[in-house]
Point group: C2
Chain length 311, copies 2
Amino acid sequence: MSILVVGSVAFDSIETPQGRRDRCLGGAATYFALAASYFTNVRVIAVVGEDFTAEHEAVLTSHGVDTQGLEHTAGKSFHWTGSYMKSLNEAQTLKTDLNVFESFSPKVPAVYQDSDFLFLANIDPVLQSSVRRQMPNVRMVGGDTMNYWITGHRDNLAKVLTGLDALLINDGEAKLLAENSNLVLAARQILAMGPKVLVVKHGEYGATAFFGEQAFDGKTGGSRTPFRAPAWPLDRVVDPTGAGDSFAGGVFGYLASQPKVTLQTFKHAMFYGSVMGSFAVERFGTERMQALTREEIDQRFALFRELSHLD
Amino acid sequence: MSILVVGSVAFDSIETPQGRRDRCLGGAATYFALAASYFTNVRVIAVVGEDFTAEHEAVLTSHGVDTQGLEHTAGKSFHWTGSYMKSLNEAQTLKTDLNVFESFSPKVPAVYQDSDFLFLANIDPVLQSSVRRQMPNVRMVGGDTMNYWITGHRDNLAKVLTGLDALLINDGEAKLLAENSNLVLAARQILAMGPKVLVVKHGEYGATAFFGEQAFDGKTGGSRTPFRAPAWPLDRVVDPTGAGDSFAGGVFGYLASQPKVTLQTFKHAMFYGSVMGSFAVERFGTERMQALTREEIDQRFALFRELSHLD
């Protein structure tokens, strides 16, 4: 099955204790698309400027990503400058140049209408809603957001949440969104806002999925037990950028590769998400996401099982 | 099999967002002993003052804990005053009255010499070493420590580490002990200091065991894959005091209940440790540890499996 992602395709300038990179290919949609490309067909909607060359586009197309939805326009691409010198757990944004993203109005090409899955990466909730409306028949919708939209654009975000099957955010974002410092209570409140599943990412500690009553058409066997996927204990984190987007790409890529989304496939998807996140941080930018094999992915999946399973 | 624990039996005055308790029964050895008592025979070595009454001792003995090693002396018992008003993840110590603990010199009673397991709870490493020396024939030794001993008594602590099969500490302590901010590298360095297994406790995110080459007599099938046990996502944390000690009591209590310590039993022990930690925080002080059944424990163990296992 196919998955459509809308989000940023950008250039990142990154500084970490392991070194620095200037204007390397990045953006949530890029990481998501590359990660998901190891599992299924991926289509991307984003806007890029004149600095985005055929060589950059080939990074996506060489992984089978359909870039017909990539809008090329005059000006410069979105450029993010960040640092992890203070902490590997949280990016410090030094500069955000929206550039061509400032006037982005995403349009879903007709050839994308038959996409089975839709992922609304972290962008203005107004744009997320617009894309959601243009894809009324999609089977499953996932989404991401961040503190900026939670605090300053709550009403617009609330509209997005009502149309989501799954929301993927981190601990801090979940607690901020629910205004509750207890994660379980926060999850309960967020599930009441619309999403059928809430996935909370814990960085180096993995991620937990909380299931609403409507998850998997109510077919969870009556169980409301959350599900936790571990993260891989890494002896070297080169660049944390894109870990969460690669996680999301792994989750939805795997789901889209399965005949049916069930509680069981969702648990496996959580593990594949963690696997992709663990690879993403091993090198700068999208370097690792560009150079994987499905065999490596499945080998690490087996290690995740060994890491967390009793038998 | 039997397990001997040396550590504090104390009174705690605790303040949390859920309320406060003055001078309730506490101390690392108390939490450890109660948690382990659901699995095996437990013996305790500690010192208490005149304020420690027959009623307090009955809390331990009613759970089958052998208190022949409890030294009653003139003066007041160790008294800790702490607050979790700022954060449930870290206790803020308001006052530490060592009292009778100041001149404690633990002596292992002759009747305790046949103990199979020894746990050196968080006390002065000089006292930990003294007890370790008095128990030359014990089969397995576990230990705990804290920042205070790591920063100010490093040489004494180093001697303890060489005699440990397993060290159980939290993330911050592990990074401080190894002077390394990457947990995997820190674990490698700590395993080189003596312990065959290092268990790092992550609070609400569970715990990870790292295995040295000598763990389980080198019989880990050549695998150096760590093992992570989740923590239970709780919708209400009443009092975090003693969670780590209850975790340790669960780990070693379960190990001591098994015919042999293998990689397999250790993984199960990690889950039982997390189970006991998750119960401990549900009520103030040792209230929950006093009022459990083995059935409740095994029911939650099953939930932990559902929380973390794919199949």
